[in-house]
Amino acid sequence: MTPKERMAIAPQAMPEQDPSVRARNMNEVALGYTAEMAMTEAKRCLQCPTKPCMKGCPVAINIPGFLAKASEGDFEGALKIIRETSLLPAVCGRVCPQEKQCQKFCTMGKALGDIDKAVAIGRIERFCADLARGQTAGDISASAVRATSTGKRVAVIGTGPASITCAADCARAGHDVTMFEALHKAGGVLVYGIPEFRLPKAIVQSEIDSLKALGVKIELNFVVGRTRKIKDFLEKDGFDAVFIGTGAGLPKFMNIEGENLVGVFGANEYLTRANLMKAYDENSNDTPCWRGKRVAVLGGGNVAMDASRMALRLGAEKVYLIYRRSEAEMPARKEEVHHAKEEGVEFLTLQNAKRILGNDNGSVTGLECLKYELGEPDASGRRSPVAIKGSEFVLAVDTVVVAVGNASNPLIPSTTEGLETDDRGHIIVNPETNMTSIQGVFAGGDIVLGAATVILAMGEGRRAAQGINRYLAG
């Protein structure tokens, strides 16, 4: 095919549940490509010799390579290429912010002058992974070739994306790996944070099952630092190396008046109740569910999108998403923003919460907001919002969900002597090996990076596993 012919192929839209229907159910929103759609979309790839898309991928997947296979209908071959560098394509195809990574650099998108017309790399990746999952177990097991046992033992703390990747890579190198999870289900943010309608729990479970099939042991209900200390792992329990992948689980709040009223939630709590504890299904679950009628969500990231869309699914009649910058600065995936709008979330950008109003019973009755305008670019390069004096107004709401990010959870650093952190509480690591200030103790993911993405955490877990494998070999 000539480039001209490829450019003439229409971008394949993702089949989705109808917005008015899906806003009231928990099922996955995006239904996935058919084989024909995946092939057609893959044919749009211009196979640029410079492979610009690859430099946007945090784990440098050979994108033109797998797209070439997919365009021929060789999805197995495509997946094999993806798996050379990525461990969880079914997850990443769904949750990666592709428009800021691979698709941002896609020549097709540039040539057509619209990033939304870039080759839908993530959707094809997802199709390949889903097709294989229908036939075999999860991504991990399919790519698992286990080396002979080394007799070395590795403790992996946390079961989120960084830990899953690290555990898989260490197990494949022949080490005896045990993962430790504080909650009663494994998967970390993939199970407590990201909702079913965006990432079905069955996908996460199949990856966890694959880890177990690789010989990885998982200890649930075990909070390292309290149940047992890292020092004990190394000195008493016979572990040769430890990986800390505990994530960024410490919710930030706005520190505004009224934030502790009844009806104000951190997004972590709001989503954990609905996702992990399945509180939305009251007839068969004991965890109580808060069903707000008029909900304000504060923030502009993926978590804010998840919370606002969850609010609709919990029966809200009106959901406002309040973000102090403009939509162009929103850190959320473009597709999530688009989905939230389609489902009826009302976006109030360049506005911010000033205080939360309550009644005599201490319950939320409203949110006082201020309007903003964009000023000079700040340190992050984004134009910083400036409050407009006297622009206060009140929204009548009964629920406020604060989704303004997470700081690093201090539990491990505060219970592990000699573990160095920076002034924001992130664990300091050697950038090549991911080893911390303690010999044999490695760290990666959000606890090192600050709140980031699944794919970045995965990349960190992979680098740390290489560090561990080298450390244990040497």
Binding site: T227, E269, L276, P288, N409
Partner: protein, 285 residues
Amino acid sequence: MNKILEKKQLSETVFGMTIEAPLIANERKAGQFIILMVDEDAGERIPLTIADADKERGTISLIFQAVGATTIKLSKMNVGDSLPAVLGPLGKPTDIRGENGEKPGHVVCVGGGIGVAPLHSIAQTLKAAGNRVTIIIGARSKNLFILEEEMRKIADDDLILVTDDGSSGRKGLVTEPLKEFCESGNVDEVIAIGPPVMMKFCSLTTKPFNIKTVVSLNTIMIDGTGMCGGCRISVGGETKFVCVDGPEFDGHLVDWDLMIRRSGAYKAQETTAREHACNLFRGMK
């Protein structure tokens, strides 16, 4: 798995259980708590204070009142059954007077209802650290007292019982003898554990005397590791998480009304869930 090794009924609705949990027993200090589930698929996560622990046997003991869906289901479990999830020990241990450089002194421990359970191990540790320990325990009525004998062993003659109806000990409220002790001028510290209203009024009682008053809070929690923020309260104008910053706080600084309201956030749903749990066990012994 955390097997139930012993179970006893302490009053009409209060139960004690000894549970196999060697790692928790090994690390646990007075004042810490656990989070448990009775059903890992459909259950909720609730915090319970560890009443006692035995490192040798590898067990912890819990004392709980069957008041909500989970505690009712727990009360129906028996010796030999296992709890699918027990997480801990969580929270900061009690700061025991006399153990951290300060001189031992006279500590008045006030317990109400189920709060007597966590208070027991704290009182024991305080005594061991060389403090004079006075114990005031209150209940609505005589048959609702728990751990009376155990407390008497610690406090000897310094045990004061108070009931609402006068069926045992003094008739009235725990704040009355507490105030008398404060007036006597020889109290160095007060520890109050019980229903939030009791802790609030104990704190108000000691405030004019400027006597350090420690309270232990039992708020709604999910993960118990600082991740969800559901347990947050206001202490001295600052937001604190009970699960990681507590469970013990300076009673004079806690915003009690806010804490009590937040604890009642799910009252309606809790009633439905409790009725559901009760119906489930209707007719069972």
